[in-house]
């Protein structure tokens, strides 16, 4: 990812070419984040676009002495958590069903030595929604339990409990995967 000052300036001046270049630079990074919080590529893409608009809107507020990547990551994660909260309000009676389906065989057998990222993502997505968010925030994005508690409106201990649940469930899934791997 190559985000230099001139590119940021170009976006600040609302130049379409600069906006396009910035989009291309950030796409993979943002998509990686979105794919962890969303269930499929389409919804992740929609979120990515919304995040990108937010980044452009807030670009004048970005302080140049800060890390640009850390700044956009915070915007992205906050946006995704907001969406999660909104979804939670709309889907008032969300029931979690344990999804025991076996992932697609091409993903399962395509790699021998290491697990494919798609399969790992699938494992995360199979977690209950809140547990999934806590794991993403803590283990992948490096948030602390206190911050997670504030973001997801829960206590620190609840966040810890979700993290433990996530780790136990993921470990079980990894073990199952290792056993079934030829």
């Amino acid at each position: 990812m190559n985000i230099d000052k001139s590119l940021i300036e170009s976006c600040l001046n609302k130049e379409r070419a600069g906006q396009n270049r910035m989009y291309k630079e950030l796409f993979s990074y943002l998509m990686n984040i979105c794919m962890r919080y969303k269930n499929d590529y389409d919804t992740a893409g929609a979120s990515l676009n919304a995040i990108y608009l937010k980044i452009l809107d807030n670009l004048p507020k970005f302080r140049k002495e800060d890390s640009f990547i850390a700044w956009i990551k915070r915007i992205a994660v906050n946006h995704l958590i907001d969406e999660y909260r909104k979804d939670k309000r709309i889907k008032k009676h969300t029931t979690y069903f344990e999804d025991n389906r076996v992932p697609e065989s091409k993903s399962f057998h395509s790699k021998e030595a290491e697990m494919e990222s798609e399969y790992l993502l699938e494992m995360i997505r199979e977690l209950p929604p809140t547990t999934q968010k806590v794991f993403n925030l803590y283990s992948i994005d490096g948030y602390r339990h206190k911050e997670i508690g504030a973001l997801l409106e829960m206590s620190e201990n609840t966040s810890k409990w979700h993290l433990r649940e996530a780790r136990i469930k993921l470990q079980a899934k990894v073990l199952v995967f290792n056993k079934t791997e030829p």
């Binding site: 396009n20 008032k92 790992l120």
Partner: protein
């Protein structure tokens, strides 16, 4: 447990991948990208909405300052107020009727004597009031100045007029003509008798007042109980709220009973209130939020630093001997290793459960007014629909949490509320007041066991009488 830590590492490194730029997504966003003009701030729109609401509300405020009726819509209160004013004015009335009797103008017609004809032109030497003929109306009556030198003659005339008028009045529908008569006269046409208290005194004190049936009608009409319907906005908050749990697994309910504490119950509502004499009834819509705090003891993941020490010995020198005995110099090295490890232990998980409901209260009650004060007692039954849930409940294994969902919570439940309200008539249209309510769930809002709320609420309300 260390495997659990490795899980983080595995996923952190494993899920990263390169995504090629999607041109379709770029096309979708391109149209929305800001590049020429920035959109106006959202509050511009909000301000416009607020301004529109204020203007619309203002347009509903009545501007009629010439209302004859008393401001209070309540017939009882109006009657009381009128009686009080009439008593104070009765002396003034007697004086007026006595002093002006000699100069009283009577309207006479050759064929019949009717109520005062609005088209008659009257000249009065003392009051200098004029009744002018409205355009388009012909003058049928002639104004005659009567010389009252003797009181018996006046009395005879008045008695005759009264009798004749009573006959006519029975045949005619006075209600229909009242509004016309009032509207045809200027405000100062009956300057001596134009106030409500004087007119009322004429009805009760002097039969001479029969000359002004339009005012009498007006008062009679005004004292009739008007069809009373109003809108009430209320807001309430619990001063005490409790949740009772029954009919379920004992250990689960015991744990929940100890771990859950109802915090508050609050809400707002809009009611349509219909009043018929002492009876009030109606229906409304209300939104309420119930909040409780939970504190469960479950297995938590905790971290600790595990310190280990590695001790190594190194031979520094072996060339010494002491009286033939070889001496070795050995150096001891102790290395401290600090490893963070995770372990499971019981811990308190604290959080809040929120249940939001929307309900349709159906109520019936009694209403009593005294002057500007009013009191109401109401009994409501409220079918409630639960539309939003957040939080966790203790699972059946007593060691984990489950998110609140419709597997545990019922979609509908029934609530009873009894209200005692006290209000004050601020003006013709608005009554403000406070209320005390007792709330009881008639049906459980959980599925596998019974959970019912009971509590006491206090609230404020504003009643608008359109």
């Amino acid at each position: 447990m260390s495997d659990l830590n490795n899980i983080d590492e595995l996923f952190r490194n494993g899920i990263e991948r390169e995504y090629p730029v999607d041109d379709g997504l770029w096309s979708a966003i391109e149209a929305q990208l800001p590049y020429t003009s920035t959109p106006k701030p959202w509050y511009f729109n909000l301000k416009s909405i607020v301004l529109a609401v204020v203007l619309i509300t203002c347009s509903f405020i009545p501007k009629d300052n010439n209302r004859v009726s008393q401001t209070n819509n309540n017939p009882e209160a109006r009657k009381n107020t009128l009686t009080a004013i009439l008593t104070s004015k009765s002396a003034q009335l007697t004086e007026i009727t006595n002093t002006s009797a000699k100069e009283l103008l009577l309207l006479t017609t050759p064929s019949k004597i009717n109520r005062p004809n609005p088209s008659a032109k009257v000249k009065s030497p003392t009051t200098k009031t004029k009744i002018t003929t409205p355009p388009g109306q012909t003058t049928n009556a002639s104004a005659t100045k009567v010389n009252y030198d003797s009181k018996p003659r006046i009395k005879d005339k008045l008695r005759t007029l009264t009798e004749q008028h009573e006959k006519i009045q029975t045949k005619e529908n006075l209600t229909a003509s009242t509004s016309k008569l009032i509207s045809m006269h200027k405000p100062d046409e009956f300057s001596l008798l134009s106030t409500i208290p004087i007119a009322e005194s004429f009805i009760t004190v002097s039969p001479k007042a029969i000359r002004y049936p339009m005012l009498v009608d007006c008062l009679i009409y005004d004292l009739k109980p008007s069809p009373s319907h109003s809108f009430e906005v209320e807001s309430f908050y619990s001063i005490s709220i409790n949740k009772s749990l029954n009919n379920g697994d004992y250990s689960l309910l015991n744990n929940k009973d100890n771990g859950e504490k109802a915090i508050d119950f609050k809400g707002t509502g809009l009611n349509y209130v219909k009043q018929k004499k002492l009876l009030v009834y109606g229906l409304g819509i209300q939104q309420s939020t119930y909040t409780e705090r939970y504190s469960y003891s479950v297995d938590l993941e905790k971290t600790r630093i595990n310190l280990t020490y590695d001790t190594t010995y190194k031979l520094v020198s072996g060339n010494f001997n002491s009286n033939g005995t070889p001496v070795f110099l050995i150096q001891q090295e102790v290395t401290e290793n600090a490893n963070e490890e995770t372990y499971a232990d019981k811990g308190e998980v604290i959080g809040r459960n929120t249940i939001k409901r929307v309900g349709v209260p159906l109520f019936i009650g009694a209403h009593k007014s005294y002057q500007n004060w009013m009191m109401q007692v109401r009994f409501s039954v409220i079918p409630q629909f639960i539309y939003n849930l957040s939080g966790n409940y203790l699972a059946n294994d007593l060691n984990s949490l489950t998110e609140l969902s419709e597997t545990e919570i019922k979609t509908w439940n029934l609530v009873n509320r009894s209200d005692l309200s006290l209000g004050y008539n601020v003006n013709e249209q608005f009554v403000v007041g406070a209320k005390y309510s007792v709330l009881n769930d008639l049906s459980s809002f959980t599925k596998t066991y019974d959970s019912k709320l009971s509590g006491q609420l206090i609230g404020v309300w504003i009643l608008w009488k359109p």
